[in-house]
């Protein structure tokens, strides 16, 4: 690989902001960060921000099993275009990622992709919530994050045992993380949107906020009981955020994420009956959106995740209560946060990059612009205005709820271990 310099940008990472060029050596590692540097090849970053690549803790890549909606190749391309250099594939594939064989398949496909693909493993066999999956077998292949995402582990005793058992497993000397999609299935049963004013008016069966909150409450209790870490996925309600805030203050080892859609959309969107607005957890009230934003601002929420959930046109062209939940996120997340949220730039980048990298335990690979680190970088043009066009997305699917929205800020280049995988907004392979 020729040496490369990313030239003329404003470097922003956890160490702060500085005008600097970044030189990448033949091995794809950062060789120097400083002024007036040169190399074999120059990538222009004038007027742009150079940030460490993003890490998404919540990506549905749909492979194996639903390749008509997304593949690891196309999902990774969408990720790279969104500034990500690392995504965590959720295990609700068909079959589920619940043993070593499927982990190997996903990781193998991931090696050819233009974004690092980590696999998460299911906590229970087939995500059925009945029997503990072979966590150590998967951890031996590098799986460090376990979840039954798509549903929560409803059986409290099983979740307790999973948390206890997982404390005996490590990957590269670091403990593994159990994460929860919080939803009490008895209380949410049959609900296709947030239960409230809009569900009542629209005649769509709802699921109350308490269905999420009950499991958040329970798992905080289980984290206290077992001492094990719990990561809460896609928190969407004001009281969920408040409970996590209180748990952190009490020293209970919990972390959490919020999605861009729960930061930018409310249940009122469902009035169109367009299933593109159907997602789980569902879009909530304005007060919930405000509380999730406040949780980001005060640090309660550790990172922004996409819950990128591709679905085919056909699947989303059915009745609201029959369509599968989920929406795209990888290619719009950064621009939405830059456009719609009032966060200082460094805080926004932290939520996309070094904080999720630390949660996942990949912070030696991702999340900093420093000598010797792999050159996982993204170059962002903050001023670039663009309009979301579903047909122009790199994802195989089109189910973005932001079609037609004009956003400010776009990823210009992405480097994965020094390789320019996105140049001038175009994927290179």
């Amino acid at each position: 690989m020729p040496t490369t310099v990313v030239k003329g940008g404003l470097v922003v990472d956890r160490a702060g902001e500085r005008r600097a060029d970044v030189v990448v050596d033949e091995d794809g590692r950062i060789a120097a960060v400083g002024e007036d540097l040169s190399a074999d090849r120059t990538i222009d970053a004038a007027g742009c921000v150079v940030a460490p690549g993003f890490v998404d803790l919540h990506t549905h890549l749909r492979q194996p099993g639903q390749e008509e909606a997304e593949t690891i190749e196309t999902g990774a391309r969408a990720a790279a275009l969104g500034g990500y250099t690392c995504v965590l594939a959720m295990p609700n594939t068909i079959p589920a990622i619940d043993h070593a064989g499927i982990v190997r398949e996903v990781l193998e496909l991931g090696r050819k992709a233009i974004c690092d693909v980590h696999a998460s493993g299911a906590i229970t066999v087939g995500r059925q919530g009945e029997q503990l999956a072979p966590l150590a077998e998967m951890a031996a292949l590098g799986v460090r994050f376990f979840t039954d995402d798509g549903s929560g582990v409803a059986d409290t005793r099983l979740m307790r045992r999973a948390l206890e058992y997982a404390q005996g497993i490590s990957v590269d000397g670091r403990g593994v993380i159990l994460a929860q999609h919080c939803e009490d299935p008895a209380l949410s049963a049959g609900g296709h949107m947030h239960e409230g004013e809009w569900s009542a008016r629209l005649g769509i069966p709802g699921q109350p906020a308490e269905a999420e909150e009950l499991m958040v409450m329970r798992d905080i209790a289980l984290a206290r009981l077992t001492g094990a870490r719990v990561h809460f996925q896609h928190l969407s309600t004001a009281r969920s955020v408040e409970m996590v805030r209180a748990a952190k203050a009490a020293g209970i080892p919990v972390t959490c994420e919020a999605t861009t859609h729960h930061l930018t959309l409310t249940h009122a969107e469902c009035a169109s009956y367009d299933p593109v607005f159907k997602v789980n957890p569902p879009l909530r009230t304005e007060a919930d959106v405000a509380a999730v934003r406040a949780g980001l601002a005060d640090g309660t929420i550790d990172c922004i995740a996409t819950d990128h959930a591709p679905h085919t046109q056909e699947a989303k062209e059915s009745a609201f209560d029959q369509a599968p939940p989920g929406m795209l996120g990888l290619e719009t997340a950064l621009a939405l946060v830059l456009t719609e949220l009032d966060l200082p730039l460094a805080d926004a980048l932290a939520l996309f990059s070094w904080r999720p990298a630390a949660v996942l335990g990949v912070d030696d690979e991702h999340g900093s612009v420093a000598d010797g680190r792999p050159a996982n970088l993204t170059v962002i043009d903050l001023e670039r205005e663009w309009t979301v066009d579903p047909s122009a997305l790199a994802s195989r699917s089109r189910n973005t709820p932001y079609a037609g929205r004009t956003l400010r800020g776009k990823v210009r280049h992405t480097l994965l271990r020094g390789e320019p995988v996105v140049l001038d907004e175009e994927p290179q392979r």
């Binding site: 239960e195 005649g203 609201f320």
Partner: protein, 335 residues
Amino acid sequence: MKHLLSIADLTAADLDQLMRLTDRFVEVSQRQIPKVPALRGKNVVWLFYEDSTRTRLSFEAAAKRLSADTMTFSVGSSSVKKGESLRDTVLTIEAMGVDGVVVRHASAGVPWQIARWLEDRVSVVNAGDGWHEHPTQALLDCYTIRDERGSLEGLRIGIVGDVKHSRVARSDVLAYTALGAEVTLVAPPTLLPPSLDGWPVRVSHDLDAVLPDLDVAYLLRMQRERMTEHLVPTLREYTDRYGLTLRRVEAMRDDALVMHPGPMNRGVEISAEVADLPRSVIVDQVRNGVAVRMAVLYLLLGAGVERVLEPEPDMDNALDLAVGGAAPEPEGASR
């Protein structure tokens, strides 16, 4: 107006116009040969994804009296069972050449989705979507009350029973209040919607307390499966608290009406004797339903409401001319 999706899309003036238009079609329906050529050459398809005998037959009768051609898309024997998407089904039907689609679906919102896919090329009528709306039912209910009492202005109407799951209740609340009635929902808390924010209604859990004030007691069908969902302990207990029995009717005003959208569960929400009382206008509702649906189809697909309503009430001529404005042809059998 291109579509009839929700009562919320209609103003009080629209409702009034539909009522007056219905008057005309009631008159047509009373003729010896109750048929006019107003929608001759128009093609209407019944897209019924959910079983419905009453509503479908009522629409069918309405379309036939207007001389429209009709086709039935029957889900049971169709490509839907083979996995065709809703959108593909709709576009396929459109390609066959239709002017109107009358949709019934168990999922709320489907008529909106269909209207979006068809843009304004084809009129869509909501014949009931999930728990959401059933606008022609609300129109026929309003017409029936207006027919009995002259107007809905100031009337007190109680909607009793399973409001939560009722598309009829959602449409009726909008229509009754738009026409000036006061609505009270009477139900156990488990059978009310999870939120009533923005609903212009009062709520009571006590039918006996409400009944003496009502001009109309509108009973909703109580379904057996509500017990398995833990919404009521038993139908017996429901009937005991909310069923309209002869004893309860004694507490009603002499001129108060009893209504029901059908099909009734005699002995559950309404006792058999009450259903057959003169104050029960349930059969009138069904009869008026045909004329109301004629009015709706004519409004959406016909050649202009004004020609029928104003200025000269020469309706026969107007209805004949309604087909593309061509001169009326001799239509022996249809006159």
